[in-house]
């Protein structure tokens, strides 16, 4: 499969907000995401995974290295890369339908076409009946569904997700993960999913990139060969392929955390 998203030799250094000391957030990252692939990125907090996402989104400049989508280098934010943020970032003064249709509205898609597309994604994320509600009338899970639908409706080449389910309760999170799997299956979107939850990474990712602690490097890539149809929490927990992948990722992440806690040595096993 063709590579959709390519990152080559990406490093990112920024001055600390208070001390002014240089912070090495990312160091020499090389990675590729294939067309239609869902890739999870895990790593300890502060490993630069959000910095990576912000650079891919175009919200941070790419100063060292090269980042391309469909071969074109990134310069600033653009509708070819949709983002789902950690905290729901849907606009409180727009209804669900107007939030979801925002990207199309910005592209001057005619109202009738827009309405049809919006309805399609309202249905896809299960928000039918809530089209005219304002975000403050929705639960946390529904807000995130709305955010996902908004991003998908703009039809980006790549969808970037920054710990999108971290702020919802555990029960809702499981549902949202299964829904995202279903959506990934239905839309064949290329998705880069950032998380600190190992279970989530193993559940969603076709592959999982494990990042080292700061400065963030790509420590390992763990493939998870489970067809999307089989990715349902019930049953998957006893699937040996899933558990092996999850344990592998967990081990890799814990090595990094252990270094942080001063109790381990890098690559201890």
């Amino acid at each position: 499969m063709a590579a959709k998203l390519v990152v080559e030799g990406l490093s990112h250094v920024y001055p600390d907000e208070y001390t002014g000391q240089p912070v090495h957030a990312l160091e020499d990252i090389d990675l590729e995401v294939a067309d239609g692939e869902l890739v999870a990125v895990v790593g300890p907090s502060g490993c630069g995974k959000s910095t990576l996402l912000n650079i891919l989104a175009g919200l941070l400049p790419c100063r060292q290295g090269r980042v391309t989508v469909d071969g074109a280098p990134i310069s600033g934010p653009g509708p070819d890369r949709g983002v789902v943020f950690q905290e729901h970032a849907i606009l409180p003064w727009r209804t669900v339908a107007r939030n979801i249709g925002h990207g199309l509205e910005l592209r001057r898609v005619p109202r009738a076409v827009r309405a049809r597309r919006v309805q399609e994604f309202v249905d896809l994320v299960g928000l039918a009946g809530f089209e005219d509600r304002y975000p403050h009338e929705l639960s946390g899970g529904m807000k995130q569904r709305c955010a996902v639908a908004r991003t998908l409706c703009a039809d980006p080449a790549v969808m970037l997700m920054d710990e999108p389910f971290a702020a919802v309760d555990a029960q809702t999170r499981i549902t949202l993960q299964e829904e995202l799997n279903r959506i990934a299956m239905a839309t064949r979107k290329t998705i880069l999913f950032i998380t600190h939850a190992v279970d989530e990474a193993a559940f969603l990712g076709d592959r999982c990139f494990v990042f080292s602690r700061r400065p963030g490097r790509l420590k390992a890539t763990v493939p998870i060969d489970i067809p999307r149809e089989k990715r349902v929490w019930k049953g998957l927990l006893s699937d040996p392929v899933f558990t092996a992948a999850r344990d592998e990722i967990l081990k890799l992440v814990r090595e990094e955390v252990a270094i942080d806690e001063g109790t381990g040595v890098r690559g201890a096993s």
């Binding site: 919200l59 905290e87 910005l106």
Partner: protein, 266 residues
């Protein structure tokens, strides 16, 4: 809680509060009548409520009251509309452009402290005792509160809303239109109310010092003519008008804007 319920309960609270307010007002009027009856020469110092009411009927009959009242109200509307129309875009400009903000902020702070009344002498020197003078004073007074409110409103918008719009493909103009203006709207509503409140005081002050008609001018000249009942009538009209304006127009507008989008944390 849904916003409808919040608004209803707020209205109920207002209604039960209104009853107590009426009691207090009746009490005050009784006290006023009593004091007026006990002091010597009440017509000079504190005319009774009845004589104030009589003087208002007299002025109504002569057509003076509606004309003064209309003049003052027209000035308030015109002056504060221009003030808001200038202050809202200016605040927005300060909010979206750091260097413009750095340039103008100290100046704005300076002028905000020079009250509308303090600029009257210089404006009178330039434009004489005229409508223009009074209008400039109102405009000047209403400009700063709204500009500062817009600035604060835009700065309080969470950056993730702006990022979200930009990643959806919004241009700079669309970020302003779709995020900054609606996001600052609750502050714009509050700031407008503040601005109009200041403007109302400025109209009266302006008319007293530089006008030739209007409520401010009426109470000022009534003092010269020893018409104390007219002075008191003017004061009651000034305060009463504000209460009506604020209660039935400005506050509902503010509350609706803030509540509709659930922008208050609850």
């Amino acid at each position: 809680m849904n916003p409808g319920a919040v608004r209803r309960s707020a209205r109920d609270a207002l209604r039960s509060g209104a009853f107590n307010v009426v009691l207090v007002v009746i009490g005050l009027v009784l006290l006023w009548t009593l004091v007026s009856a006990l002091i010597p020469n009440p017509d000079r110092y504190l005319p009774s409520p009845a004589s104030v009411a009589l003087s208002s009927i007299d002025m109504l009959y002569k057509g003076l009251l509606p004309s003064f009242f209309g003049d003052t109200l027209a000035r308030l509307v015109l002056g504060s509309l221009i003030g808001l129309a200038a202050g809202i875009p200016f605040g927005l400009l300060l909010a979206i452009n750091r260097s413009v903000a750095d340039m103008f902020y100290p100046l704005m702070n300076f002028f905000q402290s020079v009250s509308g009344i303090a600029i009257i002498p210089i404006v009178v020197i330039w434009f004489g005792n005229s409508d223009t003078t009074v209008l400039i004073v109102i405009l000047y007074t209403s400009f700063f509160p709204i500009a500062f409110s817009v600035l604060a409103g835009v700065r309080e918008i969470p950056i993730r809303y702006i990022h979200a719009a930009r990643t959806l493909g919004a241009t700079r103009y669309r970020v302003i239109r779709d995020v900054l203006v609606p996001g600052a709207l609750p502050h714009i509503a509050t700031g407008s109310r503040l601005s109009i409140g200041f403007a109302w005081r400025a109209v009266i002050a302006g008319e007293m010092l530089a006008g030739r008609e209007g409520l401010g001018w009426m109470i000022f000249t009534a003092q010269d003519a020893d018409l104390t009942a007219q002075v008191i009538l003017g004061m009651i009209l000034i305060g009463g008008t504000w209460i009506v304006l604020d209660h039935f127009l400005l506050r509902p507008f503010e509350a609706d804007t803030i509540e509709r989008w659930g922008m208050v944390q609850r």
